[in-house]
Amino acid sequence: MAKITFDGIEVDVPDGTTILNAARTIGGGIVPPAMCYYTPLKGSGGKCRACLVRVAAGSAKDPRPMPKLVASCVTPVQDGMVVENTTSEQVLNVRKGIVEMLLINHPLDCPVCDQAGECDLQNFAFEHGVSTTRYEEERRTFEKIDIGPLIQLHMTRCILCYRCVYTADQLTEKRVHGVLGRGDAAEIGTYIENIIDNEFSGNVIDVCPVGALTDKTFRFKQRVWFTKPVNAHRDCENPKCCGKVVLWYKGKDVLRVTARKDQYGEVKEWICNTCRFDKKETSDWTLEGPAHIDRSSVISANHYELPVLNAQVIADLPESSVRDLEQNPPMRLGN
């Protein structure tokens, strides 16, 4: 075990934990943002530099500060490490710079982008960025590439987090897309206009932090904050598919199906393309109840869910309710 101090809060974590995951065990507003790191994807992280933190003391043995800011998502903790995130002016300024860098070549077409409302870049820019731009040059754009009938690739919006590359590497037998080119001309693409055709290819939509990879069957149908997410499951024939999904309803219609994400937007259990693209009737699914949506998200504005209760502060709660709550604990308010 290693004891670290993160923004003045002490926490014990197992050896080898990254600084970011140590911060996540504390939770709340001190957790550094992450645009490219994705817990289930081995090898991800370190690229977007959104999670840079200052290490004020390297370890108990060697308490010197680290000379540069480090990417918290890939740097393991050391016993006695002191980390500054929101308490460091330098970190917050650098993060502003990172937002600026990510946005200079981004088309900022949120009004027509399907990802708007659940976009990591939107949230990141809103929380850490500035509202003006200093960029006067021409924005970089890309030719459109068709990667098949199910997934829409919109390369101009991409921030090159490599998540979809790792997903294809780790979920599918053969990866047919990857990063081509170099520098700011680097792009996600398939070699010689291949199509991505794999039973698990749809997961790249869920892992994409921006609107670069979107669901073609959901394209332009609805703004996400007008749809209602409902947890559901089915017995999927595919042994690698967990069958647990979120159905996004508009009225009686299931407009799209996604895998379930945790509070950091990460999918822990993958779903197959059959569940995602083909099962769009309520009768295909066993409904569980409304999915939890973080209150800070715009989607929650139009959303209902189980009441959030704190059993300890309500004195006369009937016993049946207490038992009920124990069995089905209410979800915590996010962050």
Partner: protein
């Protein structure tokens, strides 16, 4: 005349063949190391020599070797970084094409010191003709029993391979080099883990520059203490400097570290002064990525002392009034040089060579280049200089690998010392973009 340790026999006819090289004392260090020394004794000699990495960072080679993890039953690797592609640096190419056996000898001795049984020379893709020279030399060394199984009957085995890269500057960064050597896209890795713990194929690996490895035979032959006598302070031994730009005699010079910069530029033994009788304006002392310095600061430090060709002296004053020895790519510019155009040219290179993995470098290098392009072509505005400085600062220190810094430093330094010239470009665009235009003012001294 300084001593020549590496290039003493460089002009001997046929020195690229095994026989001639051997006749001139070649492969003595292999015999000495394998027959009379333990690997740790070789490492100790290199430590004593004070040899510092010749690729640019100047990290002590012996210390780097002693960091190598040595778990039981796990192979270790030595990789020679021959991906020399920094603008202004061309010393390794010459060394390898003229003296291929010197590098091979160094590789054998160094591999023995590190306990590596397989070693690689990762060579830049554009240098295919050098690759052929090296492969021919390696075949000769195998035939003579200096490579392969049971070298010189010592029981030590070594296989040496040359691997060409695809011609990407980024693959000169050691972890990108390892990725490329593994057959992947040349993206730098996140550190830690460092290559000394998890390098090539996740095994402990040492990556050294060509010139560092070529210095090892000299150190083993003469002893580390003898080598350390050359030079000044912590800058020991000799260094190849590839001098280019507006000099009377550009070329590759082996200097004893500690030669004054003024002597290096003006003496007839070295560069012979600035061409066409012109005045010196600025110098980039260690390859395009190090900060540019105006004449006054490259010849004398801010404290008024003579600047010497050493790691310490050149970096005296930090980045405010100093620079770095870097890889030894010495670019001199005469008084007619346009600093804005030069900075744009450097920026264009880094924009082109950024791997695109991490966002500050991917987006920032492009941004820098686009602004500088505008400035140079007379479309600048008053805010541009501050934006340039600020973008450079946003890249610096926040990237995965040092390419970000390499892109940011020349821009920051050019603005620091030549801000007037940038402002002149903005205020007098027509005059500044006229062909052959020369800025009439003087450099700003920080």
């Amino acid at each position: 005349m300084g001593r020549k340790l590496l290039t003493e026999h460089i002009n001997v006819e046929g020195i690229d063949t095994f026989e001639v090289y051997r006749k001139h004392g070649g492969y003595r260090s292999v015999e000495k190391a394998l027959k009379t020394m333990t690997p740790d004794e070789v490492v100790e000699e290199v430590k004593k020599s004070g040899l510092r990495g010749r690729g640019g960072a100047g990290f002590p080679t012996g210390l780097k070797w002693s960091f190598l993890a040595k778990p039981e039953g796990v192979p270790r690797y030595l990789v020679c970084n021959a991906d020399e592609s920094e603008p202004g640096t061309f010393k390794d190419r010459q060394l390898m094409s003229k003296l291929p056996h010197l590098l091979i000898e160094g590789m054998i001795t160094s591999s023995y010191a590190l306990g590596a049984n397989t070693s690689y020379i990762y060579i830049r893709g554009e240098l295919l003709y050098v690759l052929r020279i090296l492969e021919k030399a390696i075949a000769e060394a195998y035939a003579a029993g200096f490579l392969g199984k049971n070298i010189l009957g010592s029981g030590y085995d070594l296989d040496l391979y040359v691997h060409p890269g695809g011609g990407a500057y980024i693959c000169g960064e050691e972890t990108a080099l390892l990725e490329s050597l593994e057959g992947k896209r040349g993206n730098p890795r996140n550190k830690p883990p460092f290559p000394a713990v998890q390098g090539l194929y996740a095994r402990p690996t040492v990556v050294n520059n060509v010139e560092s490895i070529a210095a090892v035979p000299v150190i083993v032959n003469d002893g580390g203490d003898e080598y350390a006598k050359i030079g000044v302070g912590k800058s020991t031994g000799t260094k190849l400097i590839s001098a280019c730009g507006h000099l009377n005699k550009p070329g590759i010079y082996e200097i004893e570290l500690g030669v004054p910069v003024e002597e290096f530029i003006y003496s007839d033994e070295y560069c012979g002064g600035i061409w066409k009788g012109r005045d010196l304006k600025a110098v980039v002392a260690g390859g395009s990525s190090v900060p540019i310095l105006p004449k006054e600061l490259i010849l004398k430090t801010a404290a008024g002392e003579n600047r010497l060709m050493t790691y310490e002296s050149l970096s005296d004053g930090g980045f405010v009034t100093g620079t770095m020895l870097g890889s030894g790519g010495f670019i001199a510019m005469d008084e007619t040089t346009c600093i804005v155009r030069n900075t744009w040219n450097f920026s264009r290179f880094y924009h082109h060579e950024s791997c695109g993995q991490c966002s500050p470098c991917r987006e920032g290098t492009g941004w820098l280049e686009k602004i500088l392009h505008r400035l140079e072509h007379g479309h600048g505005n008053e805010r541009d200089i501050d934006v340039l400085a600020s973008v450079a600062k946003q890249i610096e220190g926040n990237t995965i690998c040092p390419l970000g810094e390499a892109a940011a430093w020349p821009v920051s330094a050019a603005i620091r010392h030549f801000r007037d010239e940038f402002e002149w470009h903005i205020r007098h665009p027509q005059e500044a973009t006229r062909p052959g235009a020369v800025y009439p003012g003087k450099a700003v001294l920080a």
